[in-house]
């Protein structure tokens, strides 16, 4: 195992964030606050409690999930796309590193960043609502698995994309709708039966539901289903990455 390489990539990727530190902290604090003002206060005052939880508190897991997904994908996809785009990837390709080491470095850094973002959101939320986390360990496991698997997905996207448009289109056209329709800001119980059934095909629903269960013990699907689902997703993504590196897909001609 080339630990120095894993560390070098990880530090390099984290340094990229450090350069935009203010932006990476201030931006989520502001948007989270806005969500609470708009959804929590304005709309929430008209919505009674959802399954015994105040609306403001109800949306916290969804909000965290929204940010985890989008930022994991964008961090990781940009992390590998950019060196490919400017050509500096030659160094990684000629270095004595295995796929796993590359993945640990890039995906580890991307996941770390989005987990840090999740923590910032959680802290911001605590200023607006009274936080209650019933199962902190399960919550952490969920956050870890989600950040890891979606960073892997982002990594795949970054290798696949050969222009900036492709890079931004997937998160925008796929992830954002899935998150919004995945019960992040409502309970699917509020939907008509047909839409409830359709929602069950949305993988994000399982993530949000699982995370929400770790907070408030309310869930649309069994928490174990959620956990195994995200685990299976993570392994599939890892399989795809290994395959891409093995064939040299879009990296080694």
């Amino acid at each position: 195992m080339n630990y120095y390489a894993v560390l070098a990539i990880y530090k390099f990727e984290m340094a990229r964030t450090k350069r935009t530190l203010v932006q990476s902290i201030v931006a989520p604090v502001i948007t989270t606050s806005l969500y609470f003002i708009v959804f929590g206060a304005a709309i929430g005052s008209r919505i009674a409690e959802v399954e015994g939880v105040s609306y403001g508190a109800f949306i916290v897991p969804g909000l965290i999930m929204l940010n985890l997904l989008t930022h994991s994908i964008s961090n990781a996809s940009f992390g590998i796309y950019f060196p490919k785009f400017v050509g500096t990837v030659y160094e990684m390709l000629s270095a004595p590193v295995s796929t796993i080491e590359v993945v640990l470095g890039y995906v580890g850094a991307a996941a770390t960043k989005s987990i840090m973002l999740g923590i910032i959101i959680l802290i911001t939320a605590s200023f607006f609502i009274e936080l209650r986390i019933a199962h902190p360990l399960i919550m952490m496991l969920f956050v870890l698995l989600t950040a890891g698997s979606f960073s892997l997905l982002g990594f795949i996207l970054g290798i696949w994309a050969d222009n900036f448009e492709k890079l931004s289109v997937v998160p925008m056209l796929l992830i954002t709708p899935l998150v919004f329709l995945g019960g992040s800001f409502y309970s699917t119980d509020m939907l008509p039966p047909l839409w409830q059934s359709i929602s069950l095909f949305n993988p994000v629903l399982y993530l949000v539901s699982g995370l929400r269960w770790s907070f408030y013990e309310i869930a649309e699907v069994n928490v174990l289903v959620s956990l195994f689902g995200v685990l299976a997703f993570m392994l599939s993504c890892l399989g795809v990455v290994l395959y891409m590196f093995h064939t040299g897909y879009k990296l080694r001609s």
Binding site: N2, Y4, A5, L7, A8, I9, K11, F12, A15, R16, R19, P83, V86, G87, T88, Y90, E91, M92, L93, S94, A95, P96, V97, S98, G248, R252, S253
Partner: protein
Amino acid sequence: MDSSSDSILTVSGLNKTYPGGLQALKDVNLEIAKGEIIALLGPNGAGKTTLISAICGIVKPTSGTVTVAGHDIQRDFRKTRSIIGLVPQELTTDSFESVLNTLAFSRGLFGRAPDPQHLEKVLKDLSLWDKKDNMIMTLSGGMKRRVLIAKALAHEPTVLFLDEPTAGVDVSLRKDMWNIVRELKEQGVTIILTTHYIEEAEEIADRVGVINNGEIILVEEKQHLMSKLGKKQLTLELCDALATIPEALQQYELNLAADGLQLTYTFNTQGERTGITALLDDLKLAGIEFRDLNTTQSSLEDIFVTLVQQSS
């Protein structure tokens, strides 16, 4: 190579066909000795970068094998890649990093423990030490080239590839670069550089390999190549124009200029007899008078042009 034990790099039967169908390398065989400086000469598109990329792991060979220090580049990629350093042809750098950080990154990536002293030495050798905290994007093109060289040396490689290192580089960097190359050679580092500046190969290399259309045309000791293919020409400026070359002079295979006022005689410097005295005697007999004469020796450039023309 007489003994395979001093060989550091062996390329055998290497082929590369790009996905588009272009065959960039055709059955390339090459043996490089430990500690030598070899220059790969070839026109644009000859396959120099492809050859280097295949050895370094950036391009997947279609067939053939490469071993570095006895290790296969695919099976033992960790071993081979950690002893290789690569300075790429393109000026590709991480714009927002500082010079020192980018070197530390390279060293780590190649699996070496941090060593600030070594990085300091590399930066000083390349006159980059006072720029160590600068962001790379604020540096000039020449400085960026130095950074790329420094990055390649950060993990103390024993085989160094320099892909067209002096393209677009100023005189002072060229001088620094050759000094570093010589110093590295003294330390036992093997250096493989590509160039299409022949003077460069002439100046620095121990051996020269000529590559064209994906094929290695020849690999020779530089001196050997010069003497083997180095031709001299004797040019005679005639007093009176000549319509044809007289029968008596046919054996010299002379060349008559279009205006009939210039005769050129090509002879081999290695030959026992150059034949010049005999030619001059025969000219006298034939009644041809000349005003002036001069000789020129072909440079590596001429040799190269001849070779490439022969092969294509």
